[in-house]
């Protein structure tokens, strides 16, 4: 085996550097190519949150003829809402269990003045405010009170990634 002089050591170092550059370039190129797919997946989840909000706004609570969000606003502000609170929570949890994307949680919150109504599914998932990946749809429900006062109750529906333990 030929003995390595100073020039030989420099050549070996240059080749080792090129090898490291090759590995790094491969890692970066492959990691970068995943970005469009991740972005498309996020756009789909954004769309899912929009659809979930609209579904809660339009679909009725069985067996009543009132939508989920309207029933929730009534529970928040009226003394005698059409849908009783426990029935509404149970029905909403069932709907979220059916409609929520896998590996994601969903939270609904309505607030008006000091009154607050919140629900999240699965139980204990929290509201997802600080979640790394969350898709939020905000809107409002219009409600006419007994005195004829017409108010808009702000609504937030949030889909968020369940944090792994």
């Amino acid at each position: 085996m030929a003995h390595l002089n100073n020039d030989g050591v420099a050549d070996v170092l240059a080749m080792a550097f090129m090898f490291v550059m090759l590995v790094l370039a491969a890692v970066f190129m492959h990691a970068y190519s995943l970005r469009p797919l991740r972005a498309a997946t996020d756009r789909q989840l954004e769309l899912k949150s929009e659809h979930l909000y609209m579904t809660m706004d339009l679909a009725w609570v069985d067996p009543y003829n009132v939508s989920f969000l309207r029933a929730t606003a009534e529970n928040l502000l009226l003394e005698q809402p059409i849908v009783p609170g426990p029935h509404l929570r149970s029905a909403m949890e069932n709907v979220f269990e059916y409609l929520c994307p896998p590996r994601y949680a969903v939270a609904v919150s309505l607030s008006y003045d000091n009154a607050l109504w919140e629900l999240s599914w699965p139980e204990g998932a929290g509201l997802g405010v600080g979640a790394d990946k969350q898709f939020t749809r905000q809107g409002g429900v219009r409600l006419t009170l007994a005195g004829g006062e017409n108010i808009a109750v702000p609504v937030t529906v949030r889909i968020f990634e369940i944090a792994e333990a």
């Binding site: 030929a2 390595l4 030989g8 050549d11 080749m15 090129m18 090898f19 090759l22 370039a25 491969a26 190129m29 492959h30 970068y32 190519s33 995943l34 469009p36 797919l37 972005a39 498309a40 997946t41 756009r43 789909q44 769309l47 899912k48 659809h51 979930l52 609209m54 579904t55 339009l58 679909a59 009725w60 069985d62 003829n65 939508s67 989920f68 069932n94 709907v95 059916y98 409609l99 994307p101």
Partner: protein, 144 residues
């Protein structure tokens, strides 16, 4: 040429060939993933158009109810659309719960084997028996 020079030349050649292979492979992967992302966006477009237009319920007064599906529109649905200059085919089904899960469909073409497909499910309301029910609209889309 000494043995050392031959080894150095050989290693350099191997590194250059490896770099070219990695670049070509990354480019091919990027192209494949970009095509999948485009398919995913086309799927979202199809699901949206179905929800707000093609399958949307129209009441007796002629009012269009976006995000509310009309089951009677499923059967006459055309399952081949052009989006952004590309042709896509799809299969659609609607699921809802009424004393157990019920499935409407699938309607449209049969998904082909060996082609990239994208499936997407979104929530919608469903107008059924004079009630608005929570439901899931599922679409499977592929390039024609």
């Amino acid at each position: 040429m000494t043995l050392t020079q031959i080894l150095k030349t050989l290693v350099t050649c191997i590194l250059v060939i490896s770099f070219l292979l990695v670049t070509v492979s990354a480019y091919q992967q990027h192209r494949t993933l970009s095509e999948l992302a485009e398919l995913s966006d086309a799927t979202s477009s199809i699901a949206t158009r179905l929800s707000v237009d093609e399958l949307a319920y129209v009441d007796n007064g002629g009012k269009l109810h976006m995000y509310t599906l009309d089951p009677s529109k499923l059967e006459g649905l055309s399952a081949q659309w052009e989006i952004g200059g590309e042709n896509f085919e799809f299969q659609v089904s609607v699921r809802y719960e009424a004393g157990g899960e019920r499935v409407l469909g699938p309607y449209g073409s049969i998904p082909p084997e060996g082609k990239a497909r994208c499936s997407f499910t979104v929530a919608n309301a469903l107008y059924e028996n004079d009630r608005f029910l929570p439901a899931k609209l599922s679409v499977i889309v592929w390039r024609t």
